[in-house]
Symmetry: C3
Subunit: 150 residues, 3 copies
């Protein structure tokens, strides 16, 4: 086992990509908000009153952004925890950093092709799978490494 040291370049890489992913996730809220205002569709009466629109739950553009947002919630927090635990198994720095980069870039592409410039499949599917592979790989490595503690 390898302690998490802030001097370790793999740990620093984990930190910066984790923060980038968190900011990217948080920016989905204003993206939804701007889209709601632009299209005049809101989820609450008080918002519709203030924004001069109406309450509507099936606007295709807004719902698409919301699905992208939910998909982030289904994948990014798992990365945060698996990435950290994976570092305790002592991976090579270059390999760990590559995994973190692939995950981060995949999730950014996922949002772009899902919610910003919708593209035909398999664009979104490939971006999803690139990130999911990294998560599942790290999860399997962590489980195998610590399996005796089960």
């Amino acid at each position: 086992m390898v302690a998490i040291s802030l001097d370790n370049p793999a740990v620093q890489s984990y930190i910066v990509y984790t923060a980038i992913l968190a900011v990217k996730l948080l920016l989905m809220s204003p993206l939804t908000g701007f889209s709601r205002v632009k299209r005049g569709v809101f989820a609450n009466e008080e918002d519709a009153k203030k924004g001069g629109g109406k309450v509507k739950f099936d606007d295709p553009v807004v719902e698409r952004i919301r699905r992208a947002h939910l998909n982030d919630l289904e994948n990014i927090p798992a990365f945060w925890v698996l990435g950290l635990l994976y570092l305790t198994t002592g991976p090579a720095t270059a390999w760990a950093t590559l995994l973190f980069r692939v995950f981060t870039i995949s999730r950014i592409i996922h949002t772009i092709v899902y919610a910003i410039v919708p593209l035909p499949q398999p664009a979104r599917g490939l971006a999803f799978m690139g990130a999911a592979f990294v998560n599942l790989y790290m999860g399997a490595q962590v489980i195998m490494y610590y399996i005796t503690a089960i």
Copy 2:
């Protein structure tokens, strides 16, 4: 870089506010549950059968609580990870503690004015933005601090 030491008052502050936010988030489930039973609206046949109500997905009160819950999921886990990473950048204790307090109080107010005693805007908007500012500020600080590890 600053190691995360449990003797550090800022770290202890992070821990207690993180735990308060986790409990607050978890309490959204019974809040939804009580509201479902009271209003007799459920998401599953087996629940409606047990609770003596019907399956319904557009009850305004229940859906409002569910939106507040989802909004928590969109913001609180990001705080957990950004708050921890922010501590590694060595912020002043009083400043970090203030940020954690602002975030926690903003999220509690957000839930109250969204799901418990619905208030006109901008009540919810301000509570949302208070917490979002803290998250985005910490995220930007962490990214700038570790940018060379990108």
Copy 3:
């Protein structure tokens, strides 16, 4: 306070159960995906075109899996953070490990009886409460331990 040491068996137990829960959570996505393909119901036009089905948001089987997935998001990330913080309060190894096991098994049962082999209540309710008890117990312990840092 007790530093988080990777040599501590309770910490190793936390790590392996956290990773198992993360993988379990991630597998909800392919479970949803297979169910969508099998039933020919999709959330996006581009997916329906590729999969040869139609866009539909109220398929009972798919929506049931999605509710199980969302319920995971409402409970598992809170475990990740509360379990780690709880370890800093120095619990007995056997007790902490028991809590982690109860949480993990409860969440796996929850998914099975919710989304895979739907059972009448109180099957799902008991599984939910087993996990929620562990989370709320750990949250209360952490808050009481660090309450002076509030």
